[in-house]
């Protein structure tokens, strides 16, 4: 219909250059785009943190104003969660999952490209608020009614709402894609219980995403109606309960925490076996515990609300369910240690980061159990003790694992090894600085320092440990600089890695580095867990992995690039700004997106040759 009345521009064909990057639907290129973009955004979130640590290094400092401070912690939290850790995870999902399951691409390559461009649109939208009258300033949790127009008349919150909606679309698109890819595109013989752990955790994470994001989407829609059209969802004066926002936020927010940590656990479960030269200890239990964590993540959200007055019964129930989560988490930690036990452990940088993850995650887990005790949490809620806990989980956990993942898969992605000597400096600096930054926060928290305060008096006795934490933060920034140096240096002149530098166990190591566009010349047949290891050690004689001579390479039809995902995302971005500034612009943006969706639907995956 429309496609036949509107002349559709020719399909993009550029094999290289900027147009290729803009129109690519190759999962590996999209993974790289995701990773690089998320890392740049991680740096911006880090700079926001450094400003805060500078302000808090000394009592009564005046480096930033209280208003800017509030914007800084809001943006730091939102950035790190939605623009850094989640998309860095998605970067590895994109690059690695099809390789691990023996597929040539994801199930919906164009949806994948759309997911990236929409993520970028959301990031641009959120970050641009700094330059368009001020960033959001109500915290990443945005508790009503402080996000209401009476208390927050500027556009900051509007930017927050709309960018999170756009990012939500991006995350959902990616999550649907990976659910289908993992269910439907596994190599023959790769049953669920033969899937690598990283694939498993990606699958669980994606399921969590598609179930959790609609909740925050609706909550944000409701807040948007309150702010834009004078509705009453969270207006106490109209009888509404602002607690509804907290419930909706944390029904989403707690699964979100597992969305951030489960991929990290998956990464660790790949690296530790590889460098211990042993299969993952208790594979079924590790898988099951991941599934159980995800499932129980839905039963604990009110532990973020122990002090709002839910009553002793509700608090007790949520305290108990929260404590119960420690069990599957413990199982994972013991299983990693069981994997290393009697292994032949090679402490490469990736392995160091992984062991660092385990050590730090134990601390974060234990302080988590402390918070789960609702009664004593009354002294910890909203203090720096919580800040310490969550950074042990998200930095000590997620970021350490993501850094490990970079060191682990960099050779696969670039064909070059990262420098191990710089890597070791990188690890120890990160490990020490991380503890220097976040461990003192346990002290200041128990010493009565609330979160989100821009200043404090000398008489409070918080000077020393705040100064230490700030020093740690700048040291941490230095360790990230070392990391960047290592990446750039290794990309340009790192040692050539070959296809299997670590004596890997999973399918991605069976193909060349970097992999060809079609990944597998011949789709492997899997007959065991750790199939590539099995083939190398010949323990299962019939394992047939990789090794295709490339015959029939020319018969492999890869999906072709497309303009439309990018155009839809641009439409969404324009629509987002339009909703804030001018409805007419929003309509234009919507129309662009709609037309592009039509064009996309009528564009075949491959240009038909037979017609």
């Amino acid at each position: 219909m429309i496609s036949l009345t509107i002349p559709i521009p020719k399909r993009p064909t550029h094999p290289t250059g900027i147009w290729n990057w803009l129109t690519t639907i190759d999962h590996k290129r999209i993974g790289i785009l995701y990773g690089v973009t998320a890392f740049i955004l991680f740096l911006t979130g880090g700079i926001e943190a450094l400003y805060m640590r500078a302000q808090l290094a000394t009592p009564e400092a005046e480096i930033v104003s209280p208003e800017v401070f509030n914007q800084l912690f809001t943006m730091h939290g939102t950035t790190m969660i939605f623009l850094a850790i989640m998309p860095m995870g998605t970067a590895f999902f994109n690059y690695i999952i099809p390789l691990q399951i023996g597929a040539r691409d994801v199930a919906f390559p164009r949806l994948n490209a759309f997911s990236y461009w929409t993520f970028l649109a959301g990031a641009i939208m959120l970050k641009s608020s700094w330059f368009l009258g001020g960033a959001p300033n109500a915290g990443w949790f945005g508790y009503a009614p402080i996000t209401g127009v009476p208390y927050n008349p500027g556009h900051g919150i509007d930017f927050w709402i709309l960018s999170l909606q756009i990012l939500g679309i991006a995350s959902l698109a990616a999550a649907f894609n990976f659910v289908v890819t993992i269910i439907n595109m596994r190599a023959p013989g790769m049953s669920l219980m033969r899937m690598p752990l990283f694939t498993w955790m990606t699958f669980v994470t994606s399921l969590l995403l598609i179930l959790a994001f609609p909740v925050i989407t609706v909550a944000l829609i409701e807040l948007m109606f309150d702010r834009f059209y004078g509705a009453n969802f969270f207006v106490p004066a109209a009888g509404a309960s602002p607690l509804l926002w907290q419930h909706l936020f944390w029904i989403f927010g707690h699964p979100e925490v597992y969305i951030l940590i489960l991929p990290a656990m998956g990464i660790i479960s790949e690296i530790i076996p590889t460098f211990s030269k042993k299969p993952l200890f208790g594979y079924p239990v590790v898988v099951l515990s991941g599934v159980v964590i995800a499932f129980m993540g839905w039963m604990v959200w009110s532990h973020h609300m122990f002090t709002v007055g839910l009553g002793p019964v509700a608090n007790s129930v949520f305290a108990l369910t929260t404590m119960a989560i420690a069990v599957p988490t413990g199982v994972k930690i013991f299983s990693w240690m069981g994997t290393m036990w009697r292994g032949s452990i090679h402490f490469s940088t990736a392995m160091l980061f992984s062991v660092g993850f385990v050590a730090l995650f134990i601390i974060g887990g234990l302080s988590g159990v402390m918070h789960s005790s609702a009664a004593s949490d009354a002294q910890q809620q909203d203090t720096y003790f919580i800040v310490a806990h969550l950074h042990y989980v998200l930095f000590g956990g997620s970021i350490m694992a993501l850094l490990a993942a970079v060191y682990y898969w960099f050779p696969k992605i670039t064909g070059r090894l990262m420098s191990e000597s710089i890597g070791k400096i990188n690890f120890w600096l990160t490990f020490i600085a991380m503890n220097l930054t976040f461990f003192p926060m346990h002290f200041t928290g128990l010493d009565g320092m609330p979160r989100r305060i821009y200043t404090y008096g000398t008489e409070m006795g918080w000077d020393l440990w705040n100064a230490v934490a700030s020093m740690g933060a700048f040291l941490l920034a230095a360790s990230i600089l070392v990391f960047m140096h290592n990446v750039v240096r290794s990309y340009r002149k790192g040692e050539i890695s070959g296809s299997d530098p670590w004596d890997g166990r999973t399918l991605e190591w069976s193909i060349s580095s970097p992999p060809p566009e079609y990944n597998f010349a011949e789709i492997p047949v899997v007959e065991t867990r750790d199939p590539f290891w099995a083939q190398k050690r010949d323990s299962v004689a019939t394992a047939r992995v990789g090794g295709g001579s490339g015959e029939g390479e020319h018969d492999i039809h890869m999906p072709q690039p497309s303009y439309w995902p990018l155009v839809v995302s641009i439409g969404l971005l324009i629509g987002g700004y339009g909703l804030i500034y001018n409805v007419a612009v929003a309509v234009v943006g919507g129309a662009i997106a709609l037309i592009a969706v039509y064009a996309w639907s009528f564009e075949p995956v491959n240009e038909p040759e037979e017609h």
Binding site: N184, M185, P188, I210, A231, G239, S241
Partner: protein, 242 residues
Amino acid sequence: MLEAGADPHGENSEHTTTGLNHRKLLMWAFLGSDCMFFGTLIGTYLVSKGRSLVGPYAVDVFDIPVTSVSTFVLLMSSMSMVLAYAALTRGSLKGFRIWIASTAIMGMTFLSFQVFEFYEFANHEVHFKCSTPISDLTEHERTFIDKCAGQDASHEVEEQHGLTPRTNLFGTTFFVLTGFHGAHVTLGVVWLLSLLFYSFRGGVTAKRNLDVDLAALYWHFVDVVWIVIFTVVYLFGVFPGF
């Protein structure tokens, strides 16, 4: 890949691990996700129920017989949708066109009812005779009872007092919930019409029926959501004490 990955609908050239089509799997995952979407909206409606400080309330504005008719229409559209798909798989393109057109028409009928309903609510009139016993008046109507002061029993009170999303919490939650359902229906109608037009271009055939299958799943989902909304919002809504 899997040898002879059977495709249940015979149109798909890709072979998949489970034999299930990618897009159909995506659709079902999306519907599972959409359950959470409407679950949140309905949850919001129920949490906010009984918290409005001013009228009109559900009992003032709802007209159950009218909504029952539109509910019935939407239910029947589900039937004609499934018949459209059945006709297509049997190879009857003509049957397919007739049924899908009637589905779209019923969808539009439902939407017209909704527009009519929204309009009525927004222009709701309080209307009662001063002779009506107070116990027969709704809570909202009673707030107008002072208009009867000094009037005889036959006096009629008429007051324009509409319900919008801004009026009260009930208005906010009701309009946004049913409005988002209406938006889903609208999208469905556009989708069905696109398929209808596409069928004249030869894009819909018995072999390529997956496009219709997906649209049908979506359409039925919109229908089952309405089944819940009709019960929880409308029927429970005017039921006193719930």
